[in-house]
Symmetry: C2
Subunit: 239 residues, 2 copies
Amino acid sequence: MFLTSINNDKVKFWEKLHNKKFRDINQLFLIEDEHLIKEALKYNIVKEIITTDETKTYAIPTYYVNDKIMKKISNQESGATEIAVTEFLKTREILGNILVLDNLQDPGNLGTIIRSAVAFNFDSIILSDNSVDLYNPKVVRASEGMLFHINIVRCNIIEFLKKLDEDYKIIGTDVLKGKNIKDIKFNKCAICIGNEGNGLSKEVKELCNDFAYIKMNDKCESLNAGVSASILMYEVANE
Amino acid sequence: MFLTSINNDKVKFWEKLHNKKFRDINQLFLIEDEHLIKEALKYNIVKEIITTDETKTYAIPTYYVNDKIMKKISNQESGATEIAVTEFLKTREILGNILVLDNLQDPGNLGTIIRSAVAFNFDSIILSDNSVDLYNPKVVRASEGMLFHINIVRCNIIEFLKKLDEDYKIIGTDVLKGKNIKDIKFNKCAICIGNEGNGLSKEVKELCNDFAYIKMNDKCESLNAGVSASILMYEVANE
């Protein structure tokens, strides 16, 4: 279908998907990068394609638009050439190692962490209710498509950790009272990473069975949250 | 001194420091975060303070401005309350392990890498001419003040690597033909990290003595550049 008016209801609907609440109500988000769209198509979660390229055809509903409309729908300043309207990712049962993110705020950090979690064979990421939205366009882009390869659950992490199977070791991070990550035996673990500025919340700390730290120079108070999470997962993968 | 006009020459000068070329000509950059300013003051590199708080006094030239002027000078949308006009950092002789950044583009990545380099006792960072500017405000912020604690040299990295002492091992990253990082003996090393999208340039690869990779799941093609650099430096520090 060809759309030419910026006031078309479809265009207005897609534009509203920039807003988290509207995404949540409709359980839909936008993907703009070409290789991410290809990835999403493999999973049969793309509902509609919006493109400026009239030569392209897809087996799903496709809308051909002009540059002006595309610029309105795109999150990028320079605009995109193709956008996929995509269903929220399904969640599944938790089976292996878990990363728990407690009030993580930076979208680049979440994308980076998703990428590392897949690299280091983590089974699931549990995202606290107050963390950055998984479907924020910057998260989707920074994940480099890895968000399709891992189970990501958004929930109340306190309730989640309380109900977690006893065979899981819940490990927090603590620069002062932690054990060197190299000295911790893992088996099945839930590693908890806190907020960029304030670290783990008191409530999560109280539920931890053990604390880990990454040995570093005294001049440096802490690492970037994405780096900390990645090094801890790397150590678990290489134990 | 009190400044009230947005057209004051001083205000215009500071505003121009948003521009890389103007920073390079004047060898000055702006710091906006309060704790970074405190850090910079310790190093005697702050030339002027600009503040909206008339109760504050400093031993260096201080300019009291209104919110309108502050907003014009600040890089943050919400504006700042205090800004330090700071001299470029001095470089020194290279003594220990080096991280070489080849066309790194993302300011958040550079800030994160500076932080990790200090944490893992690296001596110097060598930044290629075509990498993101060290004094980009996002780099300064993401470094969390760690840029004051490490020697950072911007230069032609090809010339630099060619002249490097023979006792340094130049190590590139290569997912396909690299050795597992765990199996490499380091001693004195120069670890080379490439561009976010394209990895290391051909010219740098040709100068490497060895290549390393970080073992990861096949689903994941690569890690975020800041994470890769951090894990490699972590391994060197913990060898």
